[in-house]
Symmetry: C2
Subunit: 104 residues, 2 copies
């Protein structure tokens, strides 16, 4: 279910309200179209977001969090705070681990 | 980094202290040896767990959370509570989504 960094970032992008499909890639650095489509589909399937299609020409597709999706936001915020505080420690651990693996 | 259901369950398994390699598969239903080894390696590389090798015959490998790993436990508990409360809603959403996809 909640299984990737992209899920966290895509949910987080809708924190302040609905987001159009094209807007996600501007807000989320490095997400491919394929990964965005796959993540949005998974979140919609899990009932965490809803999709609205506006009958403009061409039709505009908008996504927003459901109540269930919004109930995850507190986690996302805490996880984001945790990551900001601890990512340097994780990256240092990775450097040490990789150096050790090379030496073995 | 934190990217799979198995990561959550493996971290959670060490909540009360060190766990031997063989013990994980008894505690975590459905985890394959390959996935367990891969997850433990990722967590060790990220500095979230440490590995001790005891010189018994055969040698026993034990894993435990580092301070960094332990700082994630509050999330894991909240996520577990969230999942227990909301999994039925997610599963119902999936059933609806799959039925709609078939009808399209």
């Amino acid at each position: 279910m909640i299984s990737s960094k992209w899920v966290v970032l895509v949910i987080y992008a809708m924190e302040d309200g609905p987001v159009r499909y094209g807007e996600f890639s501007r807000r989320i650095e490095g997400i491919s179209k394929k990964m965005l489509t796959q993540t949005l589909r998974q979140l919609e399937r899990d009932g965490l977001i809803e999709r609205d299609i506006h009958p403009t020409v061409p039709p505009a597709v908008e996504y927003r969090l459901t109540a269930l999706g919004e109930s995850l936001l507190p986690f996302m915020r805490q996880l984001k705070t945790w990551a900001a505080a601890n990512l340097p420690l994780v990256e240092a651990a990775r450097t040490r681990f990789d150096a050790q693996s090379l030496a073995e």
